[in-house]
């Protein structure tokens, strides 16, 4: 078996093992209700970290507006689920909502990619940052209602919808209330596995190699006959689509969905970038592990109350040193490498 294939299988195995352990803990009643509430968010943060790693690590373009795509996925899917919450049964409704969320995030990824991917480095980061904020603010001023005559839109207030009775679904800054809770931990894990499958397989295909070639040297990539623009668009769109899937999980796990800074602002986008950087840029498995640990950590540290964020930042620094410092990497190789070598000899 190829080294790469083996590596991919290990990643799936880690996710499935973590799922089984957590399910057993849940069934035997060893998980507090607080912890249970953290499981779905953990999966969607892992998914969006995978999506961002495709953009930052594999394509090599720094995006700090990925929460914008998550926001689009969340709102379009929640809109659909809320509008059809009485007319459709849960399973098909969620599947359609998921497809809608993914498709709209992908569409926005594609449209934004057209101007944005002409930029490089810092400029791309600035534009994606602005994009994330724009999405959030537009949705905050967006009113959509539905009545017997059909859909009504307004950018002013709920009154401006001029509705004949009916139902206001998106209520400006108050967002969407009453989205059915269709997401659960199992669905989250399945979506995470699918995202991993898509990204890891992409990396090991013709398209993936072209994308990485662009990252490493786009002049040489062009001279080797690679269509730089279309491959960039492809990677960016897939990345946005996966972020959209994370958004669908997000919106189907909470009752009131608002486009707040806490979840969709630049702070949230940078948080996800932190997961990607600390997990290792271009290292998909690392992103998943870093996202899970770093998402759970602040919650687990609640016992330290005031010192919580202090300890969290120390952990970030330690992770940075362990993962990236050349001296520490050398030390790790010396200490753990020998054990590995010994085992290999024994085998």
């Amino acid at each position: 078996m190829k080294k790469q294939t083996k590596n991919n299988l290990i990643t799936y195995a880690i996710v499935i093992a973590a799922y089984i352990i957590l399910e057993i803990l849940m069934l035997t009643g060893n998980l507090s209700s607080h912890m249970k509430g953290l499981l779905v968010p953990m999966t969607y943060y892992a998914i969006i970290a995978v999506a961002l790693n495709l953009c930052v690590g594999i394509l090599g373009e720094l995006s700090i507006g990925h929460c914008g795509f998550m926001c689009i996925g969340a709102f379009t899917s929640a809109f659909f689920s809320r509008a059809t919450s009485e007319s459709l049964p849960a399973a098909p409704r969620f599947i359609i909502a998921l497809l809608i969320g993914i498709a709209s995030a992908a569409l926005f990824g594609f449209l934004i990619g057209i101007p944005v991917l002409r930029l490089k480095g810092d400029y791309l980061a600035i534009v994606t940052l602005a994009f994330g904020e724009i999405i959030k603010n537009v949705i905050n001023a967006f009113y959509v209602g539905i009545d017997a005559k059909g859909l009504h839109f307004s950018m002013k207030s709920a009154m401006e919808l001029n509705m004949d009775g009916g139902d206001t679904i998106v209520n400006g800054a108050m967002g969407i209330t009453g989205t059915p809770h269709d997401a659960n931990f199992t669905i989250g894990i399945v979506l995470l596995l699918i995202s991993l499958f898509v990204v890891q397989n992409l990396v090991n295909s013709r398209d993936g190699r072209a994308i990485m070639a662009i990252r490493d040297n786009y002049i040489a990539a062009e001279a080797t006959g690679i269509n730089v623009t279309s491959y960039k668009m492809m990677a960016f769109t897939i990345s946005a689509a996966i972020a959209g899937a994370a958004g669908v999980l997000f919106s189907h796990n909470i009752t009131t969905l608002t486009a707040s800074s806490q979840y969709f602002g630049y702070n949230a986008s940078i948080m996800i970038l932190v997961y990607v950087v600390l997990g290792g840029i271009g290292n998909i498995r690392g992103s998943v592990i870093a996202a899970c640990i770093l998402y759970l950590l602040p919650e687990l540290l609640r016992g330290f109350s005031t010192y919580r964020m202090l300890i969290y930042s120390i952990v970030l620094i330690v992770m940075m040193i362990v993962n990236w410092s050349p001296k520490v990497i050398e030390w790790r190789k010396r200490t753990f490498g020998r054990i590995g070598a010994g085992r290999r000899k024994a085998a």
């Binding site: 013709r206 190699r209 490493d216 002049i219 040489a220 080797t224 006959g225 690679i226």
Partner: protein, 252 residues
Amino acid sequence: MALLDVNNLCISFGGLRAVDNFNITIEKGELYGLIGPNGAGKTTVFNLLTGVYKPNEGIIRLDGEDITRKSTIEINHAGIARTFQNIRLFKNMSVLDNVKVGLAERYKYSSIEGILHLGKYKKIEKEMDDEAERLLKVFDLDGEIETNASNLPYGKQRKLEIARAMATNPKLLLLDEPAAGMNPNETGELMDTIALVRKEFDMTILLIEHDMKLVSGICEKLTVLNFGRVLCQGETRQVLADPEVITAYLGE
């Protein structure tokens, strides 16, 4: 018919005439050298031939096909591959993957098949692996297919860059100062590699070089550029004996 036929090629950057009335005709199978002092416009000619710059005037024909204003990608697909003066490898990819990027145009499967690893994926990937390994064997790099390109020694990086260019199955190979930064031993080895490429693939090569030992050793014909103009053109021996060429290189 000549493989490469360039007629009256001109380009200006602002007021500077970087390449002026450049003509060259390369027959199939020839090893042609392009030489000249620093700043003569040699790399500019390469960039014109590969579509990085678009010429103000002139026409470039490859195998009878007009490729004058085509993009870099289209020109590569038409059959010109190149290497760079400062090596441009895909640094964080393995030696094998570097070559497989070059093979991508000839070994195709759809993106969906690529993402799902279904359909033609397995078969074509296998064919690509075999072809890449065969190619790397020619360049004596088959022992290092899993190595990261950036971890190769300098001489081997040069070879890998040529291997990657050859993977696109070109009609014409452009080498931009392949011996730059090499010691005499490495240069000797590089000359063997170039000779081997010609023999193995029946390749037509145009190269820029400063190393006169290499130029006089392997090039059959030469064009000398000075201040963007062709100073002298013809058989290597005659060109290197030309008093004007000697003046341009050594001064009066």
